[in-house]
C-alpha cells in the first residue's frame, strides 16, 4: 500500500520553478520553508517575486518561517482532474495563512478531509515527490508532534 502511494506521488506534476521561485523550491527540497522578506519595510510575501509588493523595494532576504499557520479556507477534490491524483481522492487543497502573514496554497494531510475546518491550526510537513523535489504541505498541529 505504501509503495503504491509512493509511486503515485512520483507521477504528480513537479513544480516548474520560475527564476523568482528557484530559491523557494531549493529550500523546500532541504525541508525548509523560506519566503522573501523586504529589507526596506520588513514585509514578507508570497508567491516569490523580485520586488516587495508593499513598498516596491527590490532588496530582500530569503527568511525561514515558523511553518505554523491556520487554514483560511479549503476545498475537497472528489473528481480526478489528473491521473496522478486518482489514489488521493478525496483530498484537500487549502489556503493556509502563515503566522507571519502570507497565504500559501497547499494540501492538508494527516487528517481525514471531513475533519478539516477553517481556522484549524496547522504545521508544515514536507512531501518528497522525488530526490529533487519536496513539496510543503500542512498537517494539524496536534498530529505533528512527532515529526
Amino acid at each position: 500500500m505504501m509503495d503504491e502511494r509512493t509511486n503515485a506521488s512520483r507521477k504528480k506534476p513537479a513544480p516548474r520553478p520560475s527564476p523568482e521561485s528557484k530559491h523557494y523550491w531549493q529550500a523546500a527540497r532541504e525541508h525548509r520553508l523560506e519566503l522573501p522578506r523586504c529589507n526596506a519595510c520588513g514585509n514578507m510575501w508570497f508567491p516569490p517575486s523580485q520586488s516587495c509588493p508593499h513598498c516596491l523595494a527590490a532588496d530582500f532576504t530569503w527568511t525561514r518561517v515558523s511553518g505554523l499557520g491556520k487554514v483560511f479556507s479549503f476545498v475537497t477534490y472528489h473528481r480526478v482532474y489528473h491521473p496522478a491524483f486518482a489514489n488521493d481522492v478525496p483530498y484537500v487543497v487549502a489556503l493556509v495563512e502563515l503566522d507571519e502573514g502570507p497565504r500559501l496554497l497547499t494540501n492538508i494531510v494527516g487528517v481525514p478531509p471531513d475533519k478539516v475546518a477553517c481556522d484549524m491550526r496547522v504545521r508544515v510537513v514536507f512531501d518528497d515527490y522525488s530526490e529533487d523535489v519536496a513539496v510543503p504541505k500542512f498537517a494539524p498541529l496536534d498530529a505533528t508532534a512527532k515529526s
Binding site: P17, W25, S73, T76, H78, Y81, H82, A84, V93, N107
Partner: protein, 393 residues
C-alpha cells in the same frame, strides 16, 4: 471614491440584442457562433451592417486581435475596434466602453459580443471532458497549484463558498435554492440548454466535484454567443425597437488576488456596484430584476450581498426565501442563467437584461412592470468585475 461621471447616464441605449444557437452546437467555431449572434442582433435592431462603426469583443484565451477577425466576417471596417481581456467581466466592460466611445464621437453605432464553444471543446475527447479546461496549457500555472492537485475554476470558487459557510453559516441548501430557482426560469425559456425540472432532492444527490460544490453548483459547458448593439439615445429614436437606456456602469478589479484580503467573500462586485449605482443615481431598492454572473451557485449569493440586496452574510436566507423566483422580491437570471440556460461568460445576461426592459416576453417569463435591471460580470481569475444598470427608456 472617484465620483462616476453622470454625463454618461442615459446617453446611450441598447437598440438590438441577439443570441446564437445555445448548448451543443457541434462543428461550429466560437467565431461563427459570435457572428450568428451578431447577425441576430443586427436584424433585431433593424440597422444595416454598414451602419456599425464600432466593434468590441473578446475572443478565446489563445486568440490574437479577435476584433479583426470579427470585422472581416462582418465585412466592415470600423472607427473604433478592440478586444478586451477581463474574462467574464469583459462583456459589460464592452458596453461601458462603447458608451464612452460614442460619447467621445469615436463611433456612432457599436456592436459588443462574446461567443465560446466550451461544450464542443470539453467533449472533443474523454481527457478534455475530465480536465474541463478551456484554456491552452501555456496559460495554466506551472507551480503553486498543479503539484497539489489544484486545477480548474470549480475549486477556485469553492474556496469562497467554504469561507462564506464558515463565517456566516451558509449551507448547501442555500446554494441549492439558487440552482433550483434558475432551473425553473430555464423551463420557461425554449432556447435553454437544460430542459428538465430540478428539485432540491436532486440537487443534493448530484455527485460532488470539488466540495462544497457538486455538479449542480457549476455552470454549464456551452456552445453559445450573445451580442448587443449600442447607439446614442438620439439615434435610437429612429430605430425599430424600444431603446433600453444605459443608466450606469462600473467596474472594479481586486488585482491583489482572489486569495488576498477578504476578496473571496466580499467580491469586487461591491465597489463595481457602488460606482454603477452612483452613475445611475439609483440604489438596490430601485432594481426590479437582476442578471447575475452565475458561474457557480455561491457566486450569486455573495454578489447579491455585495450589491446590497441583502446584508453581507444574509445571502443564504435571502435566496432561500424565494426572492430570486418570478414574483419574488428580485427575480434573478430570468433566462435560466449560466447554470441552466447557457454559459457565454456573462454576455447572455446583458441580452436578457435588455429584453426584460423591452417587456417582450409572455407573462410567465416577464418580470411584471420591470423598469430597472442590474447585470453583473465576473471573471479574470475571480477578481475582475463589471456592473451595468439598464432602464426602460
Amino acid at each position: 471614491m472617484i465620483e462616476p461621471s453622470r454625463e454618461l447616464r442615459d446617453v446611450c441605449a441598447i437598440v438590438g440584442a441577439g443570441h446564437s444557437r445555445l448548448g451543443r452546437v457541434p462543428g461550429v467555431s466560437s467565431l461563427d457562433l459570435l457572428v450568428e449572434a451578431m447577425h441576430n442582433a443586427i436584424v433585431d435592431a433593424g440597422v444595416k451592417v454598414t451602419d456599425i462603426d464600432g466593434i468590441i469583443c473578446r475572443g478565446p484565451d489563445e486568440s490574437y486581435a479577435h476584433h479583426q477577425q470579427i470585422g472581416a466576417r462582418l465585412g466592415i471596417n470600423a472607427r473604433f475596434s478592440t478586444t478586451l481581456d477581463n474574462g467574464g467581466a469583459s462583456q459589460i466592460l464592452g458596453v461601458a466602453l462603447a458608451t464612452m466611445a460614442i460619447k467621445a464621437s469615436m463611433a456612432s453605432t457599436v456592436i459588443v459580443g462574446f461567443g465560446r464553444d466550451s461544450w464542443s471543446r470539453t467533449h472533443s475527447s474523454k481527457e478534455a471532458n475530465v480536465r474541463n479546461e478551456t484554456r491552452p496549457d501555456s496559460l495554466l500555472a506551472h507551480e503553486f497549484g498543479p503539484e497539489y492537485g489544484y486545477f480548474g475554476a470549480v475549486a477556485a470558487h469553492a474556496f469562497g463558498a467554504t469561507r462564506h459557510m464558515h463565517l456566516y453559516g451558509t449551507t448547501r441548501d442555500h446554494f441549492g435554492a439558487v440552482a433550483v430557482a434558475f432551473r425553473e426560469h430555464a423551463l420557461r425559456n425554449p432556447d435553454a440548454q437544460m430542459k428538465k425540472p430540478l428539485t432540491m432532492a436532486q440537487y443534493h444527490e448530484s455527485p460532488p466535484v470539488v466540495a462544497p460544490f457538486g455538479m449542480l453548483d457549476c455552470s454549464l459547458r456551452s456552445d453559445a454567443a450573445g451580442a448587443v448593439i449600442i447607439t446614442s439615445r438620439a439615434r435610437a429614436r429612429d430605430l425599430r425597437q424600444p431603446p433600453v437606456s444605459i443608466k450606469g456602469f462600473g467596474s472594479f478589479n481586486n488585482l491583489r488576488g482572489w486569495f488576498a484580503d477578504d476578496n473571496m467573500v466580499t467580491t469586487a462586485a461591491k465597489n463595481s456596484g457602488e460606482a454603477a449605482y452612483r452613475m445611475a443615481g439609483l440604489g438596490p431598492d430601485d432594481v426590479d430584476t437582476a442578471q447575475i454572473y452565475d458561474c457557480f451557485t455561491y457566486m450569486v449569493l455573495t454578489q447579491l450581498e455585495d450589491y446590497g440586496f441583502c446584508k453581507k452574510g444574509e445571502g443564504g436566507p435571502f435566496v432561500a426565501s424565494g426572492a430570486l423566483r418570478m414574483g419574488g422580491r428580485l427575480p434573478t437570471n430570468t433566462s435560466g442563467g449560466q447554470l441552466s440556460e447557457a454559459h457565454a461568460e456573462g454576455m447572455l445576461q446583458v441580452v436578457e437584461g435588455a429584453r426584460q426592459m423591452r417587456h417582450i416576453y409572455p407573462a410567465e417569463r416577464q418580470v411584471a412592470g420591470a423598469e430597472i435591471a442590474l447585470v453583473s460580470g465576473h471573471g479574470g481569475n475571480q477578481v475582475c468585475h463589471s456592473t451595468l444598470i439598464l432602464g426602460r427608456a
